[in-house]
Symmetry: C2
Subunit: 681 residues, 2 copies
Amino acid sequence: MKPRAALGCPLLWLLCGPAVSRAAEGMWTFDNLPRAQLQARYGFEPDAAWLRHAMRSTLRLADGCSASFVSAQGLVLSNAHCVLDCVQNLSARRDHVNEGFVARTRGEELRCPSMELNRLEEIRDVSASVTEALAGKSGTDYVEARRALQAQLESECVGDQAPRRRCDLVELYGGAQYQLYRYQRYDDVRLVFWPEYAAAFFGGDPDNFNFPRYTLDAALLRAYQDGQALQPGEHLRLQPRGAQPGELLLSIGNPGHTDRQLTVAQLQTLRALRLPQTLLYYAERRAMLAQYSRAGARQANYAQADLTFTENSLKVYRAQLQALNDDGLFERKRAEEAALRKADAGLTAFDDIARAEQTLRRLYLPYQMLEQRRAFFTPYFKFARDLLRAAAERERPNAQRLPEFQDAALPTLQRRLFSASPLRDAYEETKLAWSLAKLREALGADDPLVQQVLRGQSPDARASQLLRKTRLGDVEYRRRLWQGGAQAVAASDDPFIELARALDAPSRELRRQMEADVEAPEALAAQAIARLRFAQYGRSLYPDASFTLRLSYGELRGWEENGRSVAPFTDFAAAFAHQTGAAPFLLPESWNRARARLALDTPLNFVSSHDIVGGNSGSPLLNRQGELAGLLFDGNRHSIAGAYEYDEALNRSIALHPAALLQALTRIYAAPGLAAELLDD
Amino acid sequence: MKPRAALGCPLLWLLCGPAVSRAAEGMWTFDNLPRAQLQARYGFEPDAAWLRHAMRSTLRLADGCSASFVSAQGLVLSNAHCVLDCVQNLSARRDHVNEGFVARTRGEELRCPSMELNRLEEIRDVSASVTEALAGKSGTDYVEARRALQAQLESECVGDQAPRRRCDLVELYGGAQYQLYRYQRYDDVRLVFWPEYAAAFFGGDPDNFNFPRYTLDAALLRAYQDGQALQPGEHLRLQPRGAQPGELLLSIGNPGHTDRQLTVAQLQTLRALRLPQTLLYYAERRAMLAQYSRAGARQANYAQADLTFTENSLKVYRAQLQALNDDGLFERKRAEEAALRKADAGLTAFDDIARAEQTLRRLYLPYQMLEQRRAFFTPYFKFARDLLRAAAERERPNAQRLPEFQDAALPTLQRRLFSASPLRDAYEETKLAWSLAKLREALGADDPLVQQVLRGQSPDARASQLLRKTRLGDVEYRRRLWQGGAQAVAASDDPFIELARALDAPSRELRRQMEADVEAPEALAAQAIARLRFAQYGRSLYPDASFTLRLSYGELRGWEENGRSVAPFTDFAAAFAHQTGAAPFLLPESWNRARARLALDTPLNFVSSHDIVGGNSGSPLLNRQGELAGLLFDGNRHSIAGAYEYDEALNRSIALHPAALLQALTRIYAAPGLAAELLDD
């Protein structure tokens, strides 16, 4: 499975447009498609109608995946792994995660307590006004002006349409271009079909980011509006034959984050500090969660989603570090940088960034621990901070608020805050105790902030104390604090609120420094570099990923590795052949029972050469006719290095074949109605 | 605490002598002391009598620490952390680990089930015969010739004195010098005094490798021979006043392993592959053990020693990776290398090593998992492999055996095999299941070796199956297999024996490749580089650490960091002030009860500028009079970078003050007899 969007570096701005693209490389915006390459290589060019159809049929899951409408009645197709959180939240009484879920009537469809779909409606270029508003500014001035402008643009764009409309100011090519993306928001999203975990995650962590592969990583949702199934107007028709080897396919989705334009200094910080620290954090977290899970089936259930997410992240970061430890990559990046430096000898941008990186190195650990909440691995603390800060921020003019509390962001925030997802205190205590120990380890036992958090107690004792007294597990209490605003929050003696309050000033200060002393100078420098790049390479550039709509082209194709050919398809027969009798290589009972009824040579998964990254999970692969010929759910191991560069020889995305979904629905899950809906024009 | 010896890279030979030493830098052999520096800086030079006294009074703990005789009746002083394994093994009925242990009579002293002391008796230079025997050899020939020679030299040296004598062939200056070290072995070692874990490890992992520090990391043992307390002839007298700031002290101990002479290519492999992989392994292992420990006091007890060791290793590797991620270090190493390359333009050694490192990268993961047993984190597998291989190897002529099964090594092996240390199956199963999952992760689920190990089962199920059926937990069964030799082992259907048998050929093949294609060419290349270095720098060089006797000089002194002065001493008052009421910042009851009786301004710990490394734990610090003025037990964080280079401004070792030990024995532990024995001439 692919990671959700923007795992890489949630705070830092994406940096400027990449170098000239090669081969199937590129995550292209709809206004700058690689038409010449497509014509030359495939004799195909999408026309306006094709693009409109693609744009209106596809969706973004706000928490970090892609999806598409696949029926006229609002049926939505995405990956099972993108929907795991929802299914887990719906599994309080019945274990849908492991037993699977099929709604045989509309009435059986269950609302996901916390899910938001976005359909892109319009893109507006606002580069001129942004450039004007930020001219001559730096440091805190720059950050504040940018924030105010973002608030103003987004809130004007939403107008009186909240909460149905969402607008995001998007920075492209490192700030050489700014665009306002306007989305339709759907927050009544219901679960229709989810295969058992054992089928969706067959091969588990061992097979993740590997191919050959044998999973049914698909789920169906339905969007509702005013209590009725949505009629989306446009949707993708399933092409049951999928595609042929060598056939052109176009991926339409929302790649989350790439770092292809980072400077050498930034890559060095990633290699020396950010990735190793992050990896160690996730490695320990994985082992902690895995050992917790061994205590019993109940515990395993509680930890399942966190563990899956953590293992996925761990694999991503591990492969990214490996990519950065390839000396060839640094040589190529150094050469690119030298060429740009030569093109403008007076450019200080690279040195400005190197200086800012020194500041980043100094701030990194406390910033991650406190402001990014690595020290508090529990939703309780997030509830507390969000309530505390929202109360304070909502009293300020919209333009002066932190971005996550501006009017345009409030619907999403409220959806998360008031979701009734159950919390299990023994589990939360384990996670919190662990992360508090990480805090002490990172900053040292004598650090005043650590002492303020632990109050002279062990991480275990302090976690237990916090959990014993908090009321934030109660949705109604959270709602009361939200509605009561600053006064209610100030009056609360909830221990998590008290903790968030005690840390708020130092934590905000770390963020201020990070924004003013790292982000702002790096954004300015990146703009200068981007302008230079534009001057050199013009429109042959594509911007780094930004969790916004992109098109990648490529073809269904295997690859060669260590002198071995990897075939592009797997089928149901191979899935059964790979069962070992034990998880994660154990197919669910439903599959084993259905085995005799299945056409075992039906293709299951396949690979293609698309340039994709986390956030693309759930992206449809469209053929020239605009039909859905595959459902992306992962990339091979080499695709992870795609954070820094794309290699057509090795980089492969992994997709589910449409025929596999149809066969599963009809012959395994006894859901012919859903199959018919998918095939219905 | 310092790591035990040679954690860094257990297989690869230590590489060639370092560059010219600066300041207090250097771990000097007794035959090549920095006399000029000592004279110039301190007006002192140890004479033959001083050195003989130092050598005969000091010891090596065979499992990886240093120690010294501190009474005429065989009393031995080392660190508490060096003795933790023994105390844990003795804690089956009573929790000495946490309650402490004081033998008030000889009769109460308890034999450590598995401990070996070595006193160095003689060093003989055998460079000429080794050079002659290896001349013109490479690859497997080189490995086998070296192995045969080692067997012959060591076994001739032991003669008919086994098991009381131990001889080690030691490679110095990367093979420019070979010496035979002859030791007296003592394996009847009894526990006399061990403070509570809470006192020995006060500050725990958070304070480890940090200063200021407040621990009593000391333990007393007694060496016995023929059932009688040993009279060692020479011992160190305690100097209760310790030393003054600026005073010269000489550390006598056995530093385990340094990597100061690695080439840039070797350092790159460490930075890109070996350290990250090792760190991730230890990070997960730590979290797994910590989470296991949370299940209850019993589980915490089982895991205590493994957890302490793992946390210590993790900290070491983390700081080592940090040191290698300092671009300055690579620049300095590149410059040194360029100078040597320039001195001999025809030298191929650096390129030979770079080529061998490519092979190392390819072999690394399977080699670590199988031959180095990372896949099998339980003593059961080690028992099985040792029994299996010993049975096969003992049938071969001594000179053709793997080194660990040559006659000279058998006493140590048997001591470990037949130690009655209790094993707890639920704990072993947890560890084994975890490490089997790491195997599958490292090599992939489809790897034939992985499939051979797991037999289609999950790591949990397979671990449980192995543990359920094994009899290797029974010392008598292990002894029977040893005595029955190849026939008995071949007839055994113990599942661990079967597993070791199935993996033996591929595992030996990995080792053969690592030795023939990495070690051998790197050893030859390192010799060439060492010869060049000798030609350039002569006797101003010291060899990389090799867990053999060394002298480091330095002075009692604090340091400056981030504009802040770190004072050299802490005292008992500060220890009490640092209690937080929760472990690891909670002193034992004995201390809190004794508080009113203590002279709180008695110095407790102090720092000095000695160049030391893991293996130096337990080293005495001698003053000019040859008295014991401190007991080394750790280094500050900067000392870990000492694996690659020494920085006098920051690198500090951490020691226990003699007055602290005396006060603790008399006023906390009511052991005036021991204090008197320490002070008795």
